[in-house]
Symmetry: C2
Subunit: 245 residues, 2 copies
């Protein structure tokens, strides 16, 4: 398979000591386009097509909108109508089982979910990816609510956690340091220019983590071709495993 | 070259009597992303990669924004900042010599230019593509103004028209039927869901030109992969001639 050959080439580059590009994915499970970006990024990582260090950074989209004065696209009638059709075909294209929300208000109630993800990032980082997917599958995949205690508990258990670990993680998500972490992640994204989600930031040089050093920004799930070009790595569309190269 | 082989395959499909997809590109030279969409579409047509009938439909973006309540993205500070960088790399990626406007107000003075393009569509359709490119090269390529009589005259002559033909076309652009045509084109785009530019609409069935029949909409210059998929035709990025397939 092509992806395998590419993975080998990428590993070779890594062994030669070239700086490995860093990709930060800032997301809020409120954002359906972020789900598409997430699945595509995870696919490129799992197949080893991209030699990049990808970090999942759950932030709070409500805070981003408030700080920048931006409004959700669907608040404009014509844009909302277009987005409905665009989301359906983009979901098919990127391969995420996205279904329209029955009640759009659910999109605005993700604060607890984003805190939970930050608790996972600190206490159970190996669960972060699975829990993120579980929350999206519930909210945007028709699998249930993520605003109630019960919904979040079920999401945790959907990743294979037992009831007691789920309860602990949920309790942790209310702690001051976790709340502060979510705020800080949102601030970092703002400093990197974010006004929406997904906000993908890329650093190709070997700089340290000083945020004053420049990061390149990619907004949305429709700039992967340009992101790949910026890294000097290939783009085969959202399903690299289907590539015939 | 790969594109040649594909062109042959496309022509064969056409000969077999399959319905040829129709693509309408609604654009205003005010919109830089429309320039990128235009150049990429013209490239796919020139190389014969896509078997599609592409129609250039100059409309009035100001009218679209007013009717839908939409605002130019750059009116939001963070979005304007992002757009500046995004435009530069997208221009490089799509291959248009786009440079930032010295005076952003020039973007809002395209009514006369859009009328001129509608006059060309009626009186000199063979000039429409060249004149469109000329206007973009002036406004977004640093080549001069397109708001003054002088600027528009120069744009016409830039396509190879003599001074007298240029004057005639300019005079025609003030006629009532041309003004009405621009309004009508803008109305058609609104009926097809437009809230910005470029607005690309696609019909793959063999229906007649009844606007009540559905057209699929693609907003922006970043949905070509999905547009190609909807037509069942290939997408090789903005430069199909460089494809190694």
């Amino acid at each position: 398979m092509a992806a395998k050959g590419l993975a080998t080439a990428a590993s070779a580059a890594r062994r030669r000591g070239r700086a490995v590009p860093k990709i930060d994915l800032f997301y809020d499970v409120a954002s359906p386009y972020s789900w598409l970006a997430f699945e595509t990024l995870m696919r490129y990582r799992d197949l080893g097509v991209w030699d990049a260090d990808i970090t999942l950074r759950p932030f709070f989209l409500g805070g981003i909108m408030k700080a920048t004065g931006n409004k959700p696209p669907a608040t404009l009638k014509a844009k909302g109508k277009y987005m409905k059709g665009d989301l359906a075909r983009m979901a098919k294209y990127h391969g995420a089982p996205l279904v329209p929300l029955k009640d759009p208000r659910a999109m605005f109630e993700t604060l607890a979910a984003q805190r939970l993800l930050n608790a996972a990032a600190v206490d159970a980082p190996e669960q972060l990816e699975g829990l993120t997917r579980e929350l999206w599958t519930r909210l945007w995949g028709g699998g249930g609510d993520i605003a109630s205690e019960q919904g979040l508990q079920e999401a945790c258990m959907g990743t294979g956690m037992d009831a007691s670990s789920a309860r602990s993680l949920l309790a942790r998500s209310g702690d001051a340091d976790i709340k502060a972490r979510l705020k800080e992640e949102t601030e970092v994204a703002l400093r990197r220019g974010a006004f929406g989600a997904p906000w993908i930031s890329l650093r190709t040089c070997a700089d340290d983590d000083d945020d004053r050093k420049p990061w390149e920004a990619f907004f949305g799930c429709d700039r992967f071709d340009v992101l790949a070009q910026a890294m000097g790595q290939p783009w085969f569309g959202p399903h690299p495993s289907l590539s015939k190269l």
